[in-house]
Symmetry: C2
Subunit: 407 residues, 2 copies
Amino acid sequence: MTPSPQPGCLDGVRVLDLTQFEAGPSCTEVLAWLGAEVVKVENPKGGDPGRTSVGDTTHDSPYFLQFNANKKSLTANLKSPAGLDTVKRLAAEADVFVENFAPGAIERLGLGYDVLHGLNPRLIYAQVKGFGAGSPHEHSLAFDMIAQASGGVMSITGEPDLPPAKPGATLGDTGTGMLMAISIVASLYRRERTGRGERLRVAMQDAMLHYIRVAFTVTARTGVAAPRVGAKVISASNVPGGIYPCAPGGKNDYVYIYTSRANPEHWHRLLRVIGREALIGDDRYETIAARLAREPELDEMIAAWTRGRDKHEAMRVLGAAGIPAGAVLDTAELQNEPDFERRGIMQVMQHPQVGAFKMPGWPVTHDGATLPLAPAPLLGEHTGDVLHRWLGLSDEALAALRADGAV
Amino acid sequence: MTPSPQPGCLDGVRVLDLTQFEAGPSCTEVLAWLGAEVVKVENPKGGDPGRTSVGDTTHDSPYFLQFNANKKSLTANLKSPAGLDTVKRLAAEADVFVENFAPGAIERLGLGYDVLHGLNPRLIYAQVKGFGAGSPHEHSLAFDMIAQASGGVMSITGEPDLPPAKPGATLGDTGTGMLMAISIVASLYRRERTGRGERLRVAMQDAMLHYIRVAFTVTARTGVAAPRVGAKVISASNVPGGIYPCAPGGKNDYVYIYTSRANPEHWHRLLRVIGREALIGDDRYETIAARLAREPELDEMIAAWTRGRDKHEAMRVLGAAGIPAGAVLDTAELQNEPDFERRGIMQVMQHPQVGAFKMPGWPVTHDGATLPLAPAPLLGEHTGDVLHRWLGLSDEALAALRADGAV
């Protein structure tokens, strides 16, 4: 007998979401994927600036769709007394409140921690800022790239003799959002026993340190700043390893090959694949130290093999031989690879304005299935619905709020 | 009256941790930070290869300390029947089981999902692999860099006319571990109501797509692969922005400056700071499109100002003026900056072999405090303790297991 499917992990959890752009929305979106009812509170005049911040203004941007799937949208004018009062009443009914406004803004609006905690001691009140409380930069603005610069990520990314590069991944935003999501869900778990909410805060700069801890081990060992090493690995002691050029020689025609010092067989397997099995056991190549001294020679030996095939074939052959290997895949290749859609890693959102929109879903499978993807909401799409259900508002009361410009 | 401090969010949760290196350990370490009792099950002969994989072999590596804080260690020989039986009995008492062995290894050991689920239907059974179940690469090995290559991250990192670079952040490892941690804690939350565990799986390649969704929006708009843009922003439409050189001209002497199109004031404020207020309102510079056409001119105008001060002063002055700005800080500067230690973002672990070891703590503060940092365990440090408490084993039974080489 197949057991009945389980409900969403966070079914029944109510999240009042005052976030915009990405660091906050990526966090609340995960809660929505996991089943929480996430109600995005937006300014009636345009809403989350992420809706329109890049390119086309005739419909919600791909950026907005990516970070607001599965949520609901309610408009409220926080500058109007009735709008603000409505949001406070919603906060009294919520389990989680999340905001990532500029420093001090939420307090100026009258929705600071003390106010909402007073209304609802069970509330988990979560804030994402650029810099930490008590930091010399506490009052400064930040975006993803500012966090990646000031949190160390850029200093260890790029080529050795060139200026720092910014990772294409938006680690400052989504990377921070994920850490806050962990603390929020853990706090919900504790609240089942204690009945108490709490205040959670994370700074984007601080969050970056969590992701570069391997680089800190280099500094722990050497006493100096970890370097930039191009496509190599900062901790450096696995040789050979890196990206190797493949046919036909395009910008992303490379395969990453890695031989771990934890498993000396990787190197021997690689020698067999590239037709150099005669070197297995040869003292000139047998230890990491010996190979490190001959790194350019080894890299060329491997490249002589990789140049003869395309990256997909190289990855397949190396992988089948038990050697860690990965083709450098670009976003067009990933977007169009049927395997990701078949496995639910890429999913298609049916959006009322945009139509079919394909994007990455939540990558963790639960009992063998990926979590469902629902459209990002239109601005104010759920205002009436949420006010009815959360606050029991009558049609007349809702109409009055609308007439007042409060929602 | 100050309310009593709350217990750890995950106090009382038992995690049986069969992970090694980073993707798995970073996940279980977060659970430990949040209060779970995480018992690392290690091979008696050397344990987690991360203990010794880099550099010094006279004590546990900085790498191991970074990713195993707050955990316990129990040794078990999984090749011995009594050792394997002991781990199964522990699994029967656990809430969460996590492993990141090579594909198929956990099943070959006799600790696959079906076996442990049969023993303990409440168990949350979590697996981190390189490639997804059903992927053509399902049986292949992967490490951090393989995931960053094949998951798109490298294709969008580095200089436009050079090969791809690998972000210094270990997104393939820790980035994946964080997503699994979210699903685990959410599953624990649901289990409070359903009493049922589940199987969770994530692939490092798949997890990378979650972190590069902004790049996918570029592909959604253009139909082609997102490019590499050095230190600039891939989605590209905020001008000016990027890193600007500061005195005295060292490798990391840059400040990132960003002017968001969502707030036209950023540009005006920047003109004031750099002494070019005469250009405020000038049509040649007033729109994004106009500035984009003059980007090199603007970058030089800004650099003429930044070159005259060091990055810390530039960050301070720009930040105080309401312009998003961040100095490029390196790992030595971050490691030695007293502000991070004062705020608990960097904490000092007191390790019995290594002594004082400073590392980043969990960056989310709970009710104003950072979570405490306890030392990473010595190999087998808690074998007896855990077998007594979890299984009620007598001293005699423990001695027999030890004599047998099972633990």
